[in-house]
Symmetry: C2
Subunit: 553 residues, 2 copies
C-alpha cells in the first residue's frame, strides 16, 4: 500500500480534540479546516513550570533514498505516547516544488505519518507562500529603490539577494531582469532560488518572537554599494511589511499522527545552505505542552545534528536530552562498498565494514556531551542475523540500540526504542556546543572538519579567502558556521563512503547570512533551484471524483 493509501484509510480526530488532549487552550487555536490549526503562541499565557525534554532524531550518512528519519521521528513520538509519555512531535514542513519533480514529501511514511498528508504536502496553512511573498517583496523594494533614484548608491552588479519560488524551475536559475527600457527597471543579472533556500525561511525558523523576526529580517544583507558597504533590508525599511506578511505564518501548525499524537509541522529550511530544522517556535511550543518532544534535523548527523546542536540549540538556548541516530542495513551495506543494485542481497561483511560510518556518528554525538541511541529502521528485506550483527556492533561501542519497525507497525513497532529513549532522557547529560562563537570563521570550520568529519584540514579557495577578509572586516565573524556539504560522505566527496580519513575539505566560497545569523561555508556545487526530471511526477497528478488527490505518492 502506498503512503497516500495508508493515510487515506486513517481515521482523523478533529484537531480541536487533539489540541484539547494536549492541553492547548481552545482560544489559542486558529483552525484551518477540521484537521489543521495554527496555535497563537503570541498570546500572553503562563509558561509551565517545567518544559518538555528534547529528543533529537538524526541519522548515519544516508543512501540517496533516505533512511526514514521522519518516519522514525513520527513513530518514536507514537511509541512514547504508548509508553505513557505526554509527547509532542516537531517536524519540518515539506517543500511544494520537489513534489512535482521526483520525490514525495516529508511527512513520514507507512504507519508513521502525520496527517492530513495531502494538505501538508500541498499548500498546508500557506506558510511557504507567506515566506515567498515576504522574500519577493524585499526583492521588489530593492529593485524599485534602484529604479527610483538609488539614493543608497547600490551597485546593481553586487546584489546578492535573489528572488524565490516554491517550484522546481530550472529556467529561472539564471536570468536577466529589468529589460525593456528606462520605464521598466534597471537591467541586471539575477536568479531565483527555491523558497526553502531563502534566508527569510532560515530566519523564520530561528526567530523566537515577532520582534526577533523583525530584527533578523532587518539585518539581511541584500547588496553592496559602489564603495562596498553592505546594504540591508533595514536600510530599505522593508522589515515592517515583511513582518506583517509573516505574522500569521509564524504561528506553529498543529496536526496529528495516524495514531493521534499531536505534531507541530512548521518551517523547512534547506539542510545545506541553511540549518535544516523546524522552527524554534514550534520546538519551544511543543515543550510547553509535552513532557518529551521528538524532533529531527535534515541529512546525516554530520550535517543535521551538527547544525541543530551548534546553531539551532544555541540560538534557542535549549539543550537536547537525548539523540537517536537512525541506521539502516541498506545504508550500512552501501558504506561497506556494496553497489546500489546489490543492496538487497545479504552481505554480513559489508555491514561490518560499513559500520565505520555509524561508529563515527556515535562518537560525534558524544563530542557534544550526549549519549546517543541507535535506531535500526527495519526494512522487510532485513534478516534477523543482519539486525543482530548491527546491534552487537553498536553495543560494542557502549551505546544503546533498538530495532524499530514503525513504518510497518506504527508506534507499536517502536516501543523498545521508546523505553531506551525515556531512560536516556532521564539521565543528566553534559551538553555543550562544539565551538565558541569568538573563534575565527576559519577556526570554526576547522573544528567541524576535524572533530565531526574526521578530516585532516581545510583548504580555502582564493574566493573564499577574499570572503573571509570581508567577513572579518565587517565584524561578521562571530556568527556560527553553516556547512553546505554533500550528505553522502563525511568528506566533501560524495563517493568517499564509510569513515574516510586523511582528506581535506575545500571551501569554495562563503556566503553571509547576517539576518539568519550564520556564515554558509560552501564546499561543492550547491543546487538552490532544483529542476524537473524528464517525466515529472506532476504529469501523474489529478483530483479524483471524490475530491481526493491522485498521484501524490
Amino acid at each position: 500500500m502506498t503512503d497516500l493509501a495508508i493515510a487515506g484509510r486513517a481515521t482523523l480526530q478533529p484537531i480541536t480534540a487533539i489540541a484539547a488532549a494536549a492541553g492547548i487552550d481552545d482560544e489559542a487555536l486558529e483552525l484551518y479546516g477540521k484537521y489543521k490549526a495554527k496555535v497563537d503562541v503570541f498570546r500572553t499565557k503562563e509558561s509551565p513550570a517545567t518544559l518538555g525534554k528534547i529528543v533529537l532524531v538524526t541519522a548515519m550518512s544516508p543512501t540517496p533514498a533516505g533512511e526514514g528519519k521522519s518516519t522514525t521521528t513520527v513513530g518514536l513520538g507514537d511509541a512514547l505516547a504508548l509508553e505513557g509519555q505526554k509527547v509532542v512531535i516537531a517536524l519540518r514542513e515539506p517543500s511544494l516544488g520537489p513534489i512535482f519533480g521526483i520525490k514525495g514529501g516529508a511527512a513520514g511514511g507507512g504507519y508513521a505519518q502525520v496527517l492530513p498528508m495531502e494538505d501538508i504536502n500541498m499548500h498546508f496553512t500557506g506558510d511557504f507562500h507567506a515566506i515567498t511573498s515576504a522574500h519577493n517583496l524585499l526583492a521588489a523594494l530593492l529593485d524599485n529603490h534602484i529604479h527610483q533614484g538609488n539614493t543608497l548608491n547600490i551597485d546593481p552588479r553586487r546584489i546578492q539577494f535573489r528572488r524565490v519560488l516554491d517550484m522546481n524551475d530550472r529556467a529561472l536559475r539564471n536570468v536577466v531582469i529589468g529589460l525593456g527600457g528606462p520605464t521598466e527597471g534597471v537591467p541586471r543579472e539575477s536568479g531565483f532560488d527555491i523558497t526553502v533556500a531563502s534566508e527569510v525561511m532560515a530566519i523564520f525558523c530561528l526567530a523566537t518572537s515577532i520582534d526577533d523576526l523583525r530584527e533578523r529580517l532587518s539585518k539581511i544583507t541584500v547588496a553592496y554599494t559602489y564603495d562596498r558597504t553592505p546594504v540591508t533590508a533595514g536600510d530599505l525599511n522593508a522589515q515592517g511589511a515583511m513582518t506583517l506578511l509573516l505574522k500569521d505564518a509564524l504561528k506553529p501548525n498543529l496536526v496529528q499522527t495516524i495514531q493521534g499524537t499531536p505534531a507541530f509541522v512548521h518551517g523547512g529550511p534547506f539542510a545545506n545552505i541553511a540549518h535544516g530544522c523546524n522552527s524554534i517556535l514550534a520546538t519551544n511550543t511543543a515543550r510547553e505542552y509535552a513532557d518529551i518532544v521528538v524532533t529531527e534535523a535534515g541529512f546525516g548527523a554530520d550535517l543535521g545534528a551538527e547544525k541543530f546542536l551548534n546553531i539551532k540549540a544555541r540560538f534557542a538556548g535549549f539543550s537536547p536530552d537525548a539523540a537517536v541516530i537512525v541506521a539502516t542495513i541498506r545504508a550500512l551495506k552501501m558504506h561497506g562498498g556494496v553497489p546500489k543494485p546489490d543492496l538487497g542481497q545479504s552481505n554480513d561483511q559489508a555491514i561490518r565494514d560499513g559500520f565505520s560510518n555509524l561508529r563515527r556518528h556515535i562518537a560525534n554525538i558524544r563530542k557534544f556531551g550526549i549519549e546517543p541511541i541507535v535506531a535500526i529502521n527495519r526494512f522487510t528485506t532485513d534478516t534477523d542475523s543482519e539486525l543482530e550483527i548491527v546491534q552487537e556492533l553498536v553495543r560494542g561501542e557502549g551505546a544503546e540500540v533498538a530495532v524499530a519497525k514503525m513504518w510497518a507497525e506504527g508506534g507499536e513497532g517502536g516501543r523498545d526504542l521508546a523505553r531506551k529513549v525515556i531512560s536516556a532522557a532521564q539521565q543528566p547529560n553534559n551538553f555543550h556546543q562544539l565551538y565558541e562563537l569568538d573563534l575565527s570563521v576559519e577556526e570554526k570550520i576547522e573544528t567541524i572538519v576535524k572533530e565531526i568529519y574526521g578530516g585532516s584540514g581545510v583548504d580555502f579557495s582564493a574566493a573564499a579567502k577574499k570572503r573571509l577578509k570581508e567577513i572579518a572586516d565587517n565584524g561578521w565573524d562571530k556568527m556560527p558556521v553553516c556547512m553546505a556539504k554533500t550528505q553522502y560522505s563525511f568528506s566533501d566527496d560524495a563517493t568517499k563512503l564509510g569513515a574516510p580519513t586523511d582528506f581535506t575539505v575545500s571551501i569554495r566560497d562563503l556566503q553571509v547570512r547576517t539576518g539568519a545569523g550564520f556564515i554558509v561555508a560552501i564546499t561543492g556545487a550547491i543546487m538552490t533551484m532544483p529542476g524537473l526530471p524528464k517525466e515529472p511526477a506532476a504529469l501523474r497528478m489529478d483530483v479524483a471524483e471524490d475530491g481526493k488527490a491522485i498521484g501524490l505518492f
Copy 2:
C-alpha cells in the same frame, strides 16, 4: 477614522454563527481561523427550489480615486438585510501586490466593509497563492519540456504564457530566462505578470465545477510549434496537477460585513485583460443561500457590466434581476470638465454637463433589457442642491435614483436604495446578451464599440488583422470578446470625458484565452505587471505590539 480603524472597532461574530444564520451546513464549513471559512460546494447536497435573484452593482466612468462600487455593494447588502431580505454578497478578492504600492484594498470602506479586512487584504485563505502556484507549475513544465528534448516541437520564440507573482515588481516585466549553459535550461525572452492578470485566475473565476476547471485549464494555449500549431496545457498534460493545486482554493470564502451580513469574497481577475468579476462559483453558491445576491463588476459599466453580462452571465447561464449604477458628484463634475484640484468646489453646470456620461451608462444597461437604478454615493462635501440636481436628471431619464450614505452610516444609509432595488428585482425583465457568439470577432467588437461606447467604428492595426486571421483559422472566433480599454472614457482615449461621439476605437492587438474562453481585444497599452511608486506603502507597514497590522490603510 481610517477604514482600518473602523474595521478594528467592529465586533465580529464567529463565522460559524454567520454560516448557521445563512443556512450553510456546518459540515460544509472549512474554517480558516474564527472569522473566515471556505464552503465546500463540491459536497453532494440538494439545491434549493428557487435560486436567489442577482443584483449587479456597476458604475459610471470613474475618477482615478474610484466611485465606491465595493462600498455600495457591501452597504446595499447590509441595507437589504435591514429591509428583511435574506441576502448574501459576492465580491472579488483584493490583490496583494498593489497593497504595497499605492492603493489600499477592495473590501469596501467606512461602515460598509467586509471583515476581517486585515486578513482579506493579506493572504486571506491563500487562493491567489494557489493560483500563482498552478500558473507557475505550467510555466515550469513548459520550459522543462523544451529542455528535456522538446518532442512537441515548441518554438521558444513563440511562447505566450508568462509567469506570475502577486507582487508589484517592475523589474520582472521583461526578462531573459534559461541562462547559464546547457544544464540550466533554454534561453529565451519572457516576463512576469501580476497574478490577477493570469489566465488561470480568469479560469478560476469562470469555472462552474472541478471538471470544468480541469477542462478549461487543459485548453490554455501556451505556445506555438515551429510550424505555428497551437500548444496547450493539455498537450503538456499539466491540467491534473494544476487542478490539484486549485481544488481547495476553488471553494468560495465566507466572511461577514461590519453589520454581520454574509459575503463570499472569491477570485479577482483584472477588469481589463480579463472580465473583472468574482467567481461564478461564489455567485452561484450565494444564490443557493439567499433570496437576493448583491455582486459587482470592475471599472465602469462600459467595461465591468458589459463583461459581466456578455461573458460571466453567459458562461454561468444566469440572468441578473437588477443593476445599480454608482455615480458621484465628483465624477459628474469631472466629466463636466472640472479639473481635479477643483472637484471639491460647487459647480452645478459641470454636474449637468457631466451627466452625459451617466446618461449613456443608463441607456447602455437598458440595451441588455434591464432597467437600472442609480445610486448616488454621497460624499460629506456634497450639497443637498447638488444631489437634487442629479436626482432630477436621472428621473428625467425615467430611471429610479437614490442617495446612498453607506460609507458613513452602513446599511442604514442605503435603505431607500434597497427598497428600490427590491422593487426592481421583483419586476420581470427582458435580459439578453448584446451579441451572439456566432458573429465574427470583428462584428462582436464593432457591436460593443457602437452600442456601448457610442463610437462610430473600429480600426484594426496590422498586427490585430494578422491575429484575426489566426483566430479564425484556428476556429477560436466563436468566443466572446473581452475588451481591454481605459476605464476613464467611453472611448479608447482617457482624456475624452463625458459622452464622446464621432470617435473610432483602435484595436492594437488581440490575445487568445482559449482556457478562459474569450478573446482579449487590446486598445492601448495595458499594464499587466504594476510597479512600485517612489515611496511604496510597504515602507509604512508593520505589526503592532498587540499583533495587529499597522499602515495597511
